[in-house]
């Protein structure tokens, strides 16, 4: 490889690594701010802003969903495995909303530590399978043949 080409190769390498380091530092500095939502643990630790709108993400706790029969009011708890936050929502929920589902709610904390959601979005997981397979896996789980999913 002749000298001019080698110099240009080094220059290209420097550009790419330089930009990667700069952007890497920038993203590192942004840190938590790039996250879409706060977890219930962060809320419990008081890291989430009080009196400001933010997003809260977690799994809907099994058996925690309480629907008001006369209105669209729903109450449920969100967990990240360590802590739980109770969420109040009045309005339509996405089709994928169910117990055990990951969701992201946008709203504010009230004085009592409950989260008043103005918007609820459903997360879906990265697993894709036909319903029969899911049914078979559930049955196997109930029979104790497999350890969880």
């Amino acid at each position: 490889m002749n000298r001019a080409r080698r110099d240009r190769l080094i220059l290209v390498g420097l550009i790419v690594t330089g930009v990667a380091v700069a952007v890497g530092l920038m993203l590192f500095a942004l840190g938590q701010n790039v996250n879409l939502f706060y977890s219930p643990t962060q809320v419990a630790r008081g890291e989430a802003p009080v009196g400001h709108t933010f997003r809260l993400g977690g799994m809907v706790v099994e058996g925690s969903v309480v629907r008001d029969p006369n209105s669209l009011k729903v109450q449920f708890a969100l967990t990240d495995g360590a802590h739980e936050v109770v969420v109040q929502r009045e309005g339509i929920l996405p089709d994928l909303f169910r117990e055990g589902q990951g969701i992201v709610a946008q709203g504010q904390l009230d004085g009592g530590g409950q989260f008043i959601a103005a918007e609820v979005l459903a997360k879906h997981d990265e697993n894709y399978m036909p319903p029969e397979v899911e049914h078979a896996m559930e049955t196997a789980k109930q029979l104790g043949l497999t350890k969880g999913k």
Partner: protein
């Protein structure tokens, strides 16, 4: 090996070979697309969670993969063009940009159409969606910069630097769902352990992906031929070619 590559990079030789390859890739792409569409839209099972809406995945996921693959191709070819002053490599880099931008646009639109029924929103500023939008703007920036500079050599150098700078976005797109919490779900096929997608859904997805890739290659090579002709229009071999076609 290197001398062979140099010979390939000579514009007249590349012009002829690209014609042959693009034809092959086009037919391969169509041959894969037809069974791919059949399996993905009609003859594959619905998802346990998402029902029939999961079929958007077969259009969306390959488009998103190709949007990143196209950028890596573009940046690699731009880098080779910059280092070796190769006209063929620059022409390929230039022709990756519109094709890559098209796939990025397709990924964003189908993602939005998928997001509404599944998540409950058309758009959210999470790390994955935002970095993919940045990718679209990088392609637009590349095309804009190329169009703004009259001198072809200077345009090739300037766009190559832009392409190389933008390549930092590719790992960000890929790892965005792991580094930060997002509404977009994590990787399915490319994670280290077994892919968490059932075989009956993975096969149509792979068929569609290979088809997209072949069609991308065909588009890029077709366009690269045009780029080569345009850049070499004053050279002897293009004159001969034009005279030969007239006669």
């Amino acid at each position: 090996m290197l001398t062979r590559l140099y010979a390939l990079a000579s514009p007249p030789r590349f012009y002829r070979l690209a014609d042959l390859w693009s034809r092959w890739l086009l037919w391969c792409g169509i041959a894969l697309l037809l069974p791919g569409l059949w399996f993905s839209l009609l003859d594959s099972p619905p998802d346990y969670q998402q029902g029939e809406s999961v079929r958007i995945m077969y259009v969306h996921v390959p488009a998103a993969w190709l949007s990143m693959f196209g950028y890596v191709c573009m940046a690699t070819m731009a880098g080779i063009g910059l280092i070796f002053r190769s006209k063929a490599a620059s022409a390929v880099a230039h022709s990756c940009a519109p094709a890559g931008a098209a796939f990025t646009f397709l990924a964003l639109v189908t993602g939005s159409l998928w997001g509404k029924p599944m998540w409950g929103t058309w758009w959210i500023w999470d790390a994955r969606l935002t970095s993919e939008l940045v990718l679209l703007f990088l392609y637009f920036g590349y095309l804009g910069l190329k169009a703004a500079i009259e001198d072809r050599e200077a345009a090739a150098r300037a766009t190559a630097v832009l392409a190389l700078v933008g390549v930092v976005n590719i790992p960000i797109i890929h790892y965005s769902v792991e580094w930060w919490n997002t509404l977009h779900q994590g990787p399915t096929v490319t994670k280290l352990d077994k892919p968490s997608i059932h075989l009956s859904m993975l096969l149509p997805l792979l068929l569609m992906s290979f088809s997209y890739m072949a069609l991308f290659g065909a588009m890029v090579l077709r366009r690269a031929r045009g780029e080569i002709l345009l850049r070499e229009r004053n050279s002897g071999w293009v004159r001969e070619l034009a005279m030969g076609e007239k006669a």
